[in-house]
Symmetry: C2
Subunit: 484 residues, 2 copies
């Protein structure tokens, strides 16, 4: 048995063999992406850690335990139109280009009439392990309600690390370094596919149709397509077919039945029961009004959207901030759930002129090293850290401060894992983010939950020197947990 | 139901979608090779047909039916030292560089003492469909006894074609074009792995050891490594570990126990129970005397060789030629088996000064269009076809003619399948070669057979304009059968 938090100690020769086994397993088992010099006939292995990363079992289990509670929370938030619309309208002022635009599209769809009140959520709640008080506790970084990725590759990287362990590559005597039961393989391929299948089955049974398909709305030249395909393959095992279209192809390739608003593929007449977005989560993806119109067009169909516009909007950082208040949580959940969820939050403050906001403004100048300042604007990459906060705020008109939230920093441990990317080993120490997947099918008109289930995990690691960590963007990598 | 021998008729749009689905399935499911511009972190999909190729069910089943008989035949040929040594010695004169050298190594090992009489064969008998007499009958092209490949990728391409069929990509209405039962997926991954496992289990039980490993003797920078890895992964599922070494690494990485001749890995002390060659089948692979010595070194160990030198030598074209005589077959098989096997042969004549040889020499000039002239020399790529034969023979000293065999041409149908390679579709019509795998564990000292089992199939297709068809070499591709 390895001591807690340890990594295998390998000789240079053993590491070379490990990398050979790892690379070929990854390339031969679909742990792949399109390479940067995109060619449709080549794949590259995804950036990946050499070893599974130690993670405290109790905190891993806590993440899974709260997954369905978060599913319930966001279903209820989304279904409380009065509450949500107020929050989103406020937020829209500070993010006109995206949140505002999504909201506008939603209002237009609402005015036309939304015929499908069921909404499907494939969610991922992301945590870091906070070591601030000498303890190790998961703290929520963000809650994602649209186009969550890496559920496919996460199962694969778990299988990879288990393979290397079984082969004896982590041990100098070719025995197993880890016990199998300490290396859980994420069941996210099955879990997320089952979520989509729930949407299909609901639609087919309520509309009395058969052989419907799932529409994957995807990006053009997506590098992470294999992650998505894994869900498609799993769905097909249950006889559920899929179709992939980009947002700009949607309207020319489909038609809406006038009477029922059923969405159909023009080429074959197949009915689309579920619209599954693996795109449309960031402003840069909408390149024209045509793309925005496609988002509207899909919203007014009878297909179950994964997610609906309201569900997507519930994932705004502003909502995350507001939900850190126990009083607000109390509007949606029972007492026990409030405490359990709240325990995973760090403080997030508004920067507006409310009492809490004014206090936060002071804090941002007095103790900036404790915080990260995040724009409410969606799209990522614009966070301001620690000592940079005061100067940044000074350069910003005070009227724009409410466009930000002030979030307490989480202090994850730096671990001595190694990252392999394009044949190069990176040994800077890593930081990890644990994502727990959840799927929920619910009714936005009354909050009724038809299906709600945790759906595996993702461990994403990045070098400790980088503050943001997108895997596809070229820094950070997929990882799996070794539970201690 | 499609009519016999038909291929799906797709619109351009449907074909684009098919290629997208095909490419990504292949890249995401291990139907891959290293690309020509070898990078250890990139894979390319293997050249592959868009559709399964029609093949008559009766002839497919015949190939499987005779597989174990061929296993028995070659086990018996290999075990008849007197007979085989005579044939190989003769042959060695005409192929000093390879057959002669292998034989020399064998004799040296025999003199030193061969302690392991059990031999493991992973064989592949290759056929083409002969349409010469208005019938369709499989006729043997060659019988391979060493380093047979594509057992891994063959299972994958069957899965691919089944996936595309299930997804509806072969049909304009997205229904199934083929019935599932007409698209058999080759079980060669399981079958060949089970053959290797039989060798391991025999060794472990007879030597009373546990946790032995299979040594894959491989080429440096092998592009077709994923095909091999699939067997490794399947073996590991049964708890059997593998180690990969090139011929030139063998002696520095292993040691032979003096008392027992057990072969062990120096690094870990693990015993190697089976030496599985995925190399050493062609002269160009032996780059130095060191490589030849490694072949000797392995032969004198207690490990079960797959194949032993004698088993490898039994696959010579000369042996294939001699075995086309019913009288010769009668030395090894019962009457019924003789007829069944002989039915799969075309005429193959010696070019020596025997009565048959002299007749063949005349035939080669009188009716060259009926034949292909093949050198007994191993290594491939030097066949002389039809009208080119007379001129070739005229340019050759008559003393060298016995270094060739004259083989009746097989006339396979040209079929309208399409090949996809590196993103390019090739539509020249294809010719197919059906390989049937077989595994046999036997004793070379007495011909006793411990295990003998058919192990799936390979359909390899090539453009009709190319006469030779290696997949890794860049022409030809992997395919699967649609049985009619």
């Amino acid at each position: 048995m390895p001591p807690k938090k340890s990594f295998p100690q390998l000789s240079k020769i053993q590491e070379v063999e490990l990398i050979d086994d790892l690379s070929q397993w990854a390339l031969g088992n679909g742990l792949v992406m399109y390479p940067k010099d995109f060619k449709p006939y080549n794949a590259a292995y995804a950036p990946v850690t050499l070893f599974p990363t130690p993670f405290p079992r109790s905190q891993f289990e806590k993440g899974i335990e709260v997954a369905e509670k978060f599913g319930e929370l966001y279903a209820k938030v989304t279904s409380n139109y009065e509450w949500l619309s107020k929050a989103i309208e406020e937020l829209s002022q500070f993010d006109k280009g995206f949140t505002g635009k999504l909201w506008e599209v939603y209002l237009k769809a609402r005015e036309f009439g939304i015929v499908q009140t069921k909404s499907l959520g494939l969610f991922r709640s992301d945590y870091m392990l906070d070591t601030a008080n000498g303890e190790e506790r998961i703290k929520q970084v963000e809650f994602n309600t649209v186009s969550i990725s890496f559920g496919g590759l996460s199962s694969k990287v778990g299988e990879l690390h288990s393979f290397l362990n079984s082969k004896g590559d982590y041990s100098s005597d070719k025995g197993n370094y880890y016990r199998d039961e300490d290396l859980p393989v994420s069941d996210s391929i099955k879990g997320l596919s089952e979520g989509l299948a729930q949407g299909v089955r609901y639609y087919e049974s309520s509309e009395s149709v058969k052989d419907t398909v799932v529409l994957f709305v995807v990006q053009h030249n997506e590098r992470n397509v294999f992650d998505q395909r894994l869900l498609e393959y799993e769905l097909l095992k249950s006889g559920i077919k899929s179709k992939r279209l980009t947002l700009s192809e949607v309207e020319s390739s489909t038609a809406i039945d006038e009477a029922t608003r059923a969405l159909k593929l023009k080429s074959t007449g197949q009915t689309i029961s579920v619209v599954y977005y693996r795109s449309a989560y960031a402003p840069y993806e909408f390149t024209s009004e045509k793309d925005w119109h496609a988002r509207y067009y899909l919203e007014i169909t009878r297909a179950v959207k994964c997610p609906s516009l309201l569900t997507q909007l519930s994932g705004a950082k502003k909502i995350q901030q507001v939900l850190t208040s126990k009083a607000v949580l109390g509007q949606f959940l029972d007492k026990e759930s409030i405490d359990t969820l709240h325990d995973t939050f760090v403080a997030i403050h508004p920067m507006d002129d409310s009492e809490e906001g004014l206090a936060a403004q002071k804090l941002a100048f007095a103790e900036p090293e404790r915080f990260v300042l995040k724009p409410q604007r969606e799209g990522g990459g614009n966070n301001i850290y620690k000592q940079n906060i005061p100067e940044f705020l000074e350069g910003l008109p005070k009227s724009e401060w409410p466009g930000y939230i002030l979030m307490e920093l989480i202090h994850p441990p730096t671990l001595k894992n190694k990252i392999l990317r394009d044949g190069v080993i990176i040994e800077e120490g890593i930081l990890c983010e644990l994502g727990i997947f959840n799927t929920v099918l619910f009714d936005e008109s009354d909050g009724q939950i038809l299906y709600n289930k945790a759906a595996g995990y993702l461990l994403r690691s990045k070098t400790s020197s980088s503050d943001e960590g997108g895997v596809a963007a070229g820094f950070g990598c997929v990882d799996s947990v070794y539970l201690y």
